[in-house]
């Protein structure tokens, strides 16, 4: 079917969700053009701080981790080569640990953990699995990097940082297997929450 890009919406978001050029710090606060003006202030003051801030962000992360954990389960169920299955199992185990930690974090913040949606992925074989794995892990990195500056609690920020580093390592490991650059740019992109949610919508079955 769609051989090159499995999910065009997602690939498009990755590239266009944020102006790459403006994100890279050319001088002092080029990033401020993105975060200062458009993201952080409205994010913090309206969307989050008012409505329980960190709980919403952690539930957002939890949803992404549900998605990733389920994706690896479904990928392994396809029947993968030994090397890829080993990697998929390792990564899937990490995502499951992230799910459990984030669900616990929401509870400890006094919120209610988001329930796991039903997911569906357009993967039929190892090649399509690896292609989508790369997109999901890269998107996960950008999702955390985009949301993290709005986190108020130092503890939650630390946990998010600890997880996003693992997502980045996953992305590199998958890219290594896919024989593409493990680190396509000197600065990883950040995506706003809504862009990420729109991007993963195709994987949520009703």
């Amino acid at each position: 079917m769609q051989s090159k890009t499995i999910v065009p919406e997602l690939a498009a978001v990755e590239i266009h969700g944020m102006d790459r050029g403006s994100f890279i710090l050319k001088g002092a606060f080029a990033v401020g053009a993105v975060y200062g003006a458009t993201a952080v202030s409205p994010f913090v003051r309206q969307a989050f701080a008012q409505a329980g801030g960190d709980v919403d962000i952690v539930n957002f992360a939890l949803t992404l981790e549900y998605l990733e954990a389920d994706f690896y389960k479904k990928g392994i169920a396809l029947g993968l080569s030994a090397e890829v299955e080993k990697l998929a199992t390792l990564l899937g185990d990490h995502e499951q640990e992230h799910v459990e930690t984030l669900a616990g974090t929401v509870e400890s913040l006094g919120g209610t953990a988001a329930t796991e949606p039903k997911f569906t992925f357009p993967i039929q074989d190892e090649a399509s699995f690896l292609e989508l794995a790369q997109i999901l892990e890269d998107t996960g990195v950008s999702a955390y990097n985009g949301a993290a500056p709005a986190i108020e609690s130092k503890e939650v920020l630390g946990a998010a940082g600890s997880i996003v580093q693992i997502e980045a390592r996953h992305a590199a490991a998958i890219r290594f297997v896919n024989k593409v650059s493990t680190t396509p740019d000197a600065f990883d992109e950040a995506l706003e929450m809504q862009a990420v949610l729109d991007a993963v919508k195709p994987f949520i079955a009703a």
Partner: protein
């Protein structure tokens, strides 16, 4: 907490795994440094940014005092940015020297060049940020053991894992959201480098498991000291 792979570890890795030798090293470096004063001495050792350090007549204690005052006056973010800048200077210099060493060719040379280019871009970005906040850290003179391609890749993996841990260790301390966003964007790139080099050297891309461990300045500084000449 220590990684399972215990093969030919560099002195650097040994230092990071062995609290006793780390303490010994800290003592050697300046009589039991701790916390902010370790950074101050570190920055002073890197040449600092003030004029008196180039005169070379001030004592370590004197430099420490001056650097501490400077950092305190300019706020914590400058100190953190200068710390990151110094680490990136070291990394960029490392890859430049590796490229010059002639130990690599072909695809592995291309990878080294690509990683080195990223580190240089980090230097440029952090230098600009430090300038906007105050006085940037000076570029240190560095030295690295470049004996064989295998040893260099091991050292590169160690340095990148340390770099990723160092950024993670500062995330919760950064006050300015724009600087935090920039640090995060660099942090995950260091993590990608680390995973790549780990894979190339036969290690797990995720040696900490599902959650990456942070490293404090106190943990990181003694590990990079051996690479700093002045």
């Amino acid at each position: 907490m220590s990684n399972p792979e215990a093969s030919a570890r560099s002195a650097l890795a040994e230092l990071s795994d062995d609290p006793a030798s780390r303490k010994r090293f800290l003592k050697q470096m300046g009589g039991g440094l701790a916390g902010a004063s370790a950074l101050s001495l570190f920055l002073a050792a890197c040449g600092g940014s003030d004029d008196e350090s180039s005169a070379g007549t001030t004592t370590a204690a004197g430099d420490t005092g001056a650097a501490t005052t400077g950092a305190a006056a300019s706020g914590g973010d400058l100190e953190i940015v200068n710390y990151a800048l110094t680490l990136e200077y070291i990394e960029a210099d490392f890859y430049a020297k590796v490229i010059d060493s002639g130990l690599f060719s072909g695809a592995s040379l291309e990878l080294i060049k690509s990683i080195g280019d990223h580190e240089q871009q980090h230097v440029d970005a952090l230098l600009g940020t430090a300038k906007s906040l105050g006085e940037p850290a000076a570029k240190p003179e560095t030295t690295f053991p470049l004996e064989s391609a295998d040893a260099v890749l091991e050292l590169a993996a160690t340095v990148e894992n340390l770099g990723a841990a160092a950024y993670l260790g500062q995330a919760g301390r950064i006050e300015n959201k724009e600087i935090l966003a920039a640090a995060l964007a660099i942090h995950t790139v260091e993590a990608r480098h680390a995973a790549t080099l780990n894979t190339l050297t036969g290690k797990s891309p995720t040696p900490d498991g599902a959650f990456a461990a942070p490293a404090s300045m106190e943990d990181v500084l003694p590990q990079v000291m051996p690479f700093i000449v002045s």
